[in-house]
Amino acid sequence: MAQGVNIENFSFWYGPTQVVKNISLSAPERQVTALIGPSGCGKTTLLRSINRMHDLTTGTRSEGRITVGEEDIFSAAVDPVDLRRRVGMIFQTPSPFPHLSVYENVAAGLRLHGLARGKEIAERVEACLCKAALWEEVKEHLHRPGALLSGGQQQRLCIARALAVEPEVFLMDEPCASLDPVGTMRIEELIGELKHDYTVLIVTHNMHQASRISDQTAFLLNGEMVEVGITKEIFLAPQDPRTEAYLTWKIG
């Protein structure tokens, strides 16, 4: 079940340094929302707030509200471990578990959460690999280490692994940064498929990518949100001069 993500007046600090400043953003369900902006603008920090990855770092602090569906993710009733199952994350560097095979990488989440047993696991693994557009390439060697795949395949393996635990939202942090153009294209096609069933938020440095794959684009600068809107409009007719400057390579 896809769920929308709603960010209200959200601020975030690393120690004394405020890196996200009072941002409000709504990522509607079954749409791709792209976060763009120069390095250090806070877009990755914002993304990592949505599955509370910052809980793992000491000395961080946040204010404001983030909801996934109807639920406030900072409420006491929400267990961050369960939240991270519901909000899948794909990282810049493909990170399959190196000691596990392709098959076991996808099964890992199922086993962690006890979501499937016995024969069911094999079915779910196949379904997820198919959905991640990887099945045809790996079905002959499911039991080889996942780390032996190409970078692009590894990234799709990570997507399959995230799909297995039935998330509602996908967070992607520059998922194509380390991939070649073909690998990038496959991931972009896949994102186009995923948005039929999931809400996707993606951080990207590649503005062409943002314009190709996203429905909505938010431009961040120095921790503030400068502008958010329908992707086509942002790219064709930005309202704020800073957005225009960034899109024409004048900032960043």
Binding site: V81, R84, G88, F91, S95, F97
Partner: protein, 280 residues
């Protein structure tokens, strides 16, 4: 121009010195191995490895009880040290910046520098004097203390080799901290952990003072953990310093067995480490 030639000459000289120094290190090991092999090979055979020692002048006899005593005490030491030290290393890896971690790291380094004689004395005073007898158990405890810093320090390093990207991926999948440790970090570092344990075992197998002061020695087969127990290093020490030619020959034989065990452990650890590094 002259300056460049001078610098080149100095560089060449330095390289020669380095090669020489490396050569000396290898030579020393090679000489020891050669000597131990030459003097020891004549006495080592199956019955030497499996018989009890005989009194002076009686032909035959071997190191069977000392071999078993050593294996048992080293095994016991590992049994105590491995779980504690790996658990400690997990703590250090998970809470690298905590105060307790800083103290634990410091204590471990100091412990690794404490003379093994002192470790032996400590266990002697705490276990042997209190229970009233030397024992294999006390020997195992002493060896576990000798092994502890080696295992802890190497284990922490091996755990840290599991990259943070994988740890984050695991957490992002909804794994708890504990699941991440047991399903990702420990399996990922398993090879390296085994290497550390093997090196610690090799170190402990050759320790003399800790077992001499805690297990003493024995001329009989081991029947209980609460008895004085023979071990290879102590047997070598007694035999080598005795005035009898046949005992001295047996000391060389026992030394050959001990060195062979340690060498095999070290070489295996090295090969394993190579395999792990290649996979990475």
């Amino acid at each position: 121009m002259k300056n460049i030639q001078k610098r080149k000459a100095l560089g060449a000289l330095f390289e020669v010195l380095c090669v020489l120094a490396a050569g000396v290190a290898i030579m020393v090991l090679a000489l020891i191995l050669y000597y131990v092999f030459r003097r020891g090979v004549a006495v080592v055979n199956f019955s030497f490895l499996t018989s009890l020692p005989t009194p002076v002048g009686v032909a035959g006899g071997g190191i069977g009880n000392a071999l078993i005593g050593s294996l048992l005490m080293v095994g016991l030491g590992a049994l105590i040290a491995v779980p504690v030290c790996i658990a400690g290393a997990i703590y250090l890896d998970q809470n690298p910046a905590s105060k307790l971690a800083a103290y634990a790291r410091f204590a471990t380094r100091v412990l690794s520098g404490i003379p093994s004689m002192v470790v032996g004395l400590f266990v002697f005073s705490q276990l042997v004097l209190r229970t009233g007898h030397y024992s294999a158990l006390a020997g195992g405890v002493a060896l576990s203390i000798v092994m502890a810093p080696v295992i802890t320090l190497s284990a922490e390093e091996m755990l840290r080799l599991v990259p943070s990207s994988q740890r984050e991926a695991s957490m992002a999948l909804g794994a708890t901290k504990q699941q991440t440790v047991f399903r990702l970090i420990l399996p990922g570092a398993a090879g390296g952990l085994i290497v550390g344990v093997m090196l610690a075992v090799a170190l402990a197998a050759g320790q003399t003072a800790p077992v001499l002061l805690t297990a003493l020695t024995s001329r009989f087969w081991l029947t209980s953990l609460a008895q004085p127990t023979a071990s290879l290093p102590v047997l070598i020490y007694h035999y080598a310093t005795s005035p009898f030619a046949d005992w001295q020959a047996h000391a060389w034989g026992a030394a050959l067995v001990l060195v062979a065990v340690i060498l095999v452990l070290n070489v295996t650890a090295q090969v394993l480490l190579g395999l792990i590094n290649r996979r990475r």
